[in-house]
């Protein structure tokens, strides 16, 4: 009987070990995305268009109180971190060409005229100006006019800005 128990014990231990190795492998892959979920992408039950209106309303309120909204460099190959850029009313261009309002010189991944920021009704909208590599808001490719909220990340080429109102 005893000689039978040893292989069984070994098989049992190996099986449990492999089971947890599986769980480890799956968890490692499965939750790696937890870090990169932008906060306002979560699907809050019942927060439909109604709350968007509320949020927009709050944004208008904020904007009218202090007009100083900024793009602060978070991470970049070409600019020093925490370099602030004032975003005034009207249109702000970001691009490689020196005629841009925010110039990202020497970044091969930035197009001449890369992206356009427009203030409209108290909200700042990001609109890609047909760039080669695209513009990312919170690591999602901006398609059409994408509203930018305080705390959002805007990536153009190698440079990531954080937007604050």
């Amino acid at each position: 009987m005893l000689d039978l128990q040893v292989p069984l014990l070994a098989a049992k231990a190996l099986l449990l070990l492999l089971l947890f190795a599986f769980i480890y492998a799956v968890v490692r892959r499965g939750i790696s995305d937890l870090r990169s979920v932008p906060e306002d992408e979560t699907f809050v039950p019942g927060e439909g268009r109604k709350s968007d209106v509320q949020r927009d309303g709050a944004a208008i309120y904020n904007a009218s109180h202090n007009g100083s909204s900024k793009l602060v460099v978070e991470d970049s190959d070409i600019l020093a971190p925490s370099t602030p850029f004032e975003v005034s009313g009207g249109t702000t261009n970001i691009g490689r060409s020196s005629s841009s309002d925010i110039v990202l010189k020497n970044d091969d991944y930035v197009s001449g005229n890369h992206v356009m920021l427009t203030r409209h009704g108290g909200m700042l909208y990001v609109e890609d100006a047909g760039s080669t590599n695209g513009t990312y808001v919170n690591e999602r490719k901006a398609v059409g006019a994408t509203p930018l909220r305080s705390g959002d990340r805007l990536r153009v080429g190698s440079t990531t800005f954080r937007y604050s109102e």
Binding site: L15, I31, S131
Partner: protein, 440 residues
């Protein structure tokens, strides 16, 4: 969204192989025809590769979990039946069902990639679901253990509620997505609870009541619970109104009490749950045996083939979790529940990333159904809640259940493909960061 899952896939198949090897070499069980093992492994690998090719953005981690669950299920079913005369071939039958299920998954992947077109047929799907369940009352249906939930179609026995509930989730997802604004904002109220206009509530209530009523008369308690709770959760997800949940819970309490009073089999279940020891040889037999088995497993389990869970009636379907707890112990059972948990986590993640309301609600509804089903049966066999006969998804023996859950996974995969396609930068960011860029 795209997740590579080759290592978990390989691990899952190694675990299955090790399980069978233990039974064959250590317990000297008669080996099942090895060709079925090859079929099974081949099917799962082809499924994985197929999904990687056809749905490059889909969440293949789901498939790795499905492989593990079906694999453990096969090992356990084989372990429970290889020496029982009459059912020796149950594991090979299950392997064939897994093959059919994989085919169904591939069918969904190939032909329902635009699953949104299903939403156009929502009323037809709801009707089909109700008709499917109602068909068990025709001469085609027959009764097993006092519950009339089987359908005999030629050589194949089907449990139509397993398929009907997926159709119902599609119906509710599409209907609620169309009308959720009307549900969330209405002026009428009843006892402080805002109610939507009857016009919008009507179809939902009708489908809900019809499917639920049929199941109650079928005496299929587990499915009734699912059919009741999943639409309620979807309603909450769509509107965010706690009032619906409270109202639904009250209705559930009233309904449960009424069924308790009307049906003697419900009374038996409840008394077996509250006090199985008052009648341990008859009504309490299943649950007491299940608890003995789980306790016998201890931390690391008795070892494959060393438990005594064959004493539990219906062990290969409803009570397979007791066998796993008995032979793989607390650790093995925990690993299994973690695997279910990750499946549910990925499902919720797909719901979060999906772009439109219909897809979100579909992914949420399917995931909620999967999670609740696991909760109901694991809770039932551990005596946490009254036992209702329902299968442990992918693990339990049962053709309809396996095929139904493969279809569910297929739908989750196409939703995740659709969600993943629209945000290429999300998760491949680190790996594909440099490769993605082109010099401007």
């Amino acid at each position: 969204m795209a997740q590579r899952a080759s290592i978990p896939m390989a691990l899952a198949l190694i675990i299955t192989t090790l399980g069978f090897a233990t039974l064959i070499f250590v317990q000297e069980a008669k080996s099942p025809p090895l060709i079925y093992g090859a079929y099974y492994a081949g099917t799962m690998v082809l499924l994985y590769l197929g999904v990687r090719v056809w749905l490059p953005h889909a969440d293949t981690l789901l498939l790795a979990i499905v492989t593990l669950l079906t694999g453990i299920g096969l090992v356990m079913i084989y372990r429970l039946t290889y020496e029982v005369p009459g059912v020796e071939n149950l594991a090979t039958t299950q392997a064939i069902w897994i093959l059919v299920g994989s085919g169904a998954l591939m069918f969904v992947v190939l032909f329902f990639r635009n699953y949104q077109k299903l939403f156009a047929y929502k009323y037809l799907l709801a009707l089909a679901a109700v008709v499917l369940v109602a068909m068990t009352f025709t001469p085609l249906g027959y009764e097993v253990n006092g519950a009339r939930l089987w359908l005999k179609l030629g050589p194949v026995n089907l449990q139509p509620s397993e398929f009907a509930r997926i159709a119902l989730v599609v119906f509710f997802a599409s209907y609620l997505a169309d009308t959720r604004d009307l549900w969330a904002a209405t002026s009428r109220s009843f006892m402080g609870v805002q109610l939507p206009a009857l016009k919008y509530f009507g179809p939902v209530a009708l489908v809900w009541a019809a499917s639920l009523g049929l199941l109650v008369f079928e005496k299929d308690l587990g499915s009734s619970l699912l059919f009741f709770a999943v639409p309620l959760l979807m309603l909450y997800a769509a509107t965010g109104r706690m009032a619906y949940v409270i109202l639904g819970t009250l209705l559930f309490a009233v309904g449960s009490y009424a069924t308790y009073l009307i049906f003697p089999h419900v009374q038996t279940r409840v008394s077996a749950w509250l006090d199985p020891w008052s009648d341990p040889d008859d009504t309490g037999f299943q649950i007491t045996q299940s608890i003995f088995n789980i306790a016998d497993g201890g931390i690391t389990g008795a070892g494959l083939g060393e438990g005594f869970s064959q004493t539990i009636p219906e062990v290969q379907t409803d009570f397979i979790f007791s066998t796993i707890a008995s032979e793989l112990g607390l650790l093995g059972a925990t690993a299994l529940i973690l695997a279910f948990l990750i499946f549910v986590y990925r499902g919720m993640k797909i719901a979060l990333l999906a772009q439109d309301d219909g897809s979100k609600l579909l992914a949420f509804g399917l995931t909620a159904m999967f999670a609740l089903q696991t909760l109901i049966i694991v809770g039932g066999v551990t005596k946490a809640i009254p036992l209702t006969g329902i299968t442990l998804p992918f693990v339990s023996y049962g053709g309809s259940s396996v095929v139904g859950n493969f279809i569910l996974t297929g739908l989750l995969l196409v939703v995740s493909e659709n969600a993943g396609k629209q945000q290429p930068a999300e998760e491949d960011k680190e790996a594909g960061y440099a490769a993605e860029k082109v010099t401007a």
